[in-house]
Amino acid sequence: MNNPNIENIIEIEGLNTWYGDKQILSDISLNVVHKEIMVIMGHSGSGKSTLLRHMIGLNKPASGSIKLLDQEITSLDRKELHKLRRRIGVAFQNGALFSSMSLQENVELPLREHTKLDENTIRIMSRLKLELMNLSDSESLMPAELSGGMLKRAGLARAVVMDPDVLFFDEPTAGLDPVTSAELDDLILQLRDALNMTIVVVTHDLDSAFKIADRITVLDNGRQIITGSKEMIRNFPDPRIVNMLERKAMDELVDADDYLDKLTRK
């Protein structure tokens, strides 16, 4: 940690965002503390990935404040944003590896771009991270030759190669079999414990969320239902949470006229 005194690694206040005339996130406020694993949950289209993109400054909000490592990310210019981003790691859902580079070259890229380390050190550091992700035998493979789980782990290796203070992980277990999912969950816990990282995970996988989270934020249609510990979530009386935990679809009351209008609308 460069700034061990910061307790709140991420602080979001009153975040609102729109795509055209549709509100995607409304009035989100949450904080993530040092060495915490915060899981953002919600079903598809609930705005969780959009929230993640706002946290790393890829999207700008319509209103609200987002502080990442004590810096207001919404008012940073390009150069300051890049400086701040050197202290974070982001693992994308599909790995987002560069298809023209081998696995090892992908993982080495941030080191080559941002450090003046010699060739041997770069190689050792990248191998260390690949070893951590159980990928040391596949370092010379191209991304097209990897399986879904390997791509995610490789993306994770690249995200943590600079030893970031904060790691963001978008859908670590989406599209993976239960065993590989469990392996990735263990890896995330290991990263927090071994490398002292603060981790934000976006997922819709209940088992994974309850296994790794210290606290969970649940979003529904862009609204924040609750942020709290696993126990709080389990005991929260809101029917949307209860249905989510019981994996049931919401029963919505449908107005006959509205429904007809929806079907016949041009």
């Binding site: 993109r53 790393i56 890829l58 890049h82 400086k83 981003r85 050197r86 974070i88 790691g89 982001v90 994308f92 859902q93 599909n94 987002a96 590896l97 560069f98 298809s99 890229l109 941030p110 771009e113 941002h114 993306g155 690249r158 995200a159």
Partner: protein, 262 residues
């Protein structure tokens, strides 16, 4: 009537905004070209991609274009009894127009479309977001070597095209039809002025810039295009658009530059 007016205005507005974004894209890329740090390796890789790997196509195209214009001019000049002008006709048409334009069109087909699709897929696959998140400037990392390579390679490819074209013209005119080699080359060196070479050179630099600019901007700003799909269909659409727009831009700027220099 009113609705139509408002609608057409907003389309124009949208196009103007898009043009502004493309302008800012180029400006930002030039900023990263001028300011350090500089790295040679990505530039060499792009020169290999745009230049070296287009060489064969350019040589074949140049040879046949040179041969066919010699054939056509031979037939035309024969009617006027001015066969001695064959060399200058072949040389001038290659240097002033056909060389830069056909080379540019070949580079669009071979490298521009591939570049646009590659960047578009990087955008769709979040690879460009990943670059941003790794604090790697995509303008510096992806676009400045490509733009520079375009400006360097297209003039060189044009020169090769013209050289091979003149050889093709020589083959048809001198070897097949028996025009005297002396009058072929003498006519050429008498009529081609420095201004023609300047025109050829400036055209090919502008074309090189246009091809890479349009291809990279289309791919990079794929997500801004609100019509149509984002995924693979989006990539195929922007690739087609980039080829069409850059071909049009080449032909339009060709006229503009010819009018300016002549």
């Amino acid at each position: 009537m009113n609705t139509y007016k408002i609608k057409s205005l907003s389309v124009i507005e949208n196009q103007l905004i898009r043009l502004g974004i493309a302008g800012l894209f180029l400006l930002e890329t030039f900023r990263t070209i001028i300011l350090p740090p500089y790295s040679l390796k990505p530039l060499i890789k792009q020169i290999a991609f745009i230049g070296a790997r287009s060489m064969l196509v350019i040589i074949v195209a140049g040879l046949f274009v040179g041969m066919v214009i010699a054939l056509q001019f031979y037939d035309t000049l024969l009617r006027f009894g001015s066969i001695s002008l064959l060399g200058s006709a072949v040389g001038l048409s290659l240097i002033r127009e056909l060389g830069p334009v056909i080379t540019a069109l070949m580079v669009i087909g071979r490298a521009g479309s591939a570049m646009c699709a590659e960047i578009g897929i990087m955008r769709v696959d979040n690879q460009i977001d990943a670059l941003e998140c790794m604090a790697i400037d995509p303008y510096r990392y992806l676009f400045s070597p490509r733009i520079l390579a375009g400006i360097i390679c297209v003039p060189i490819l044009t020169a090769i095209f013209i050289l091979v074209g003149i050889f093709g013209g020589y083959f048809v005119g001198v070897i097949l039809f028996g025009v005297s080699p002396g009058s072929f080359f003498q006519g050429m060196s008498d009529t081609i002025l420095n201004r023609d070479i300047l025109m050829c050179f400036s055209k090919s630099i502008v074309f090189g810039l246009l091809i890479v600019w349009i291809a990279c901007d289309k791919g990079f700003n794929l997500h801004l295009d609100k019509h149509g799909a984002y995924g693979s269909e989006g990539v195929s659409r922007i690739t087609t658009e980039s080829v069409v727009i850059s071909s049009m831009a080449i032909l339009f700027s060709d006229y503009l530059l010819s009018a300016l220099i002549l």
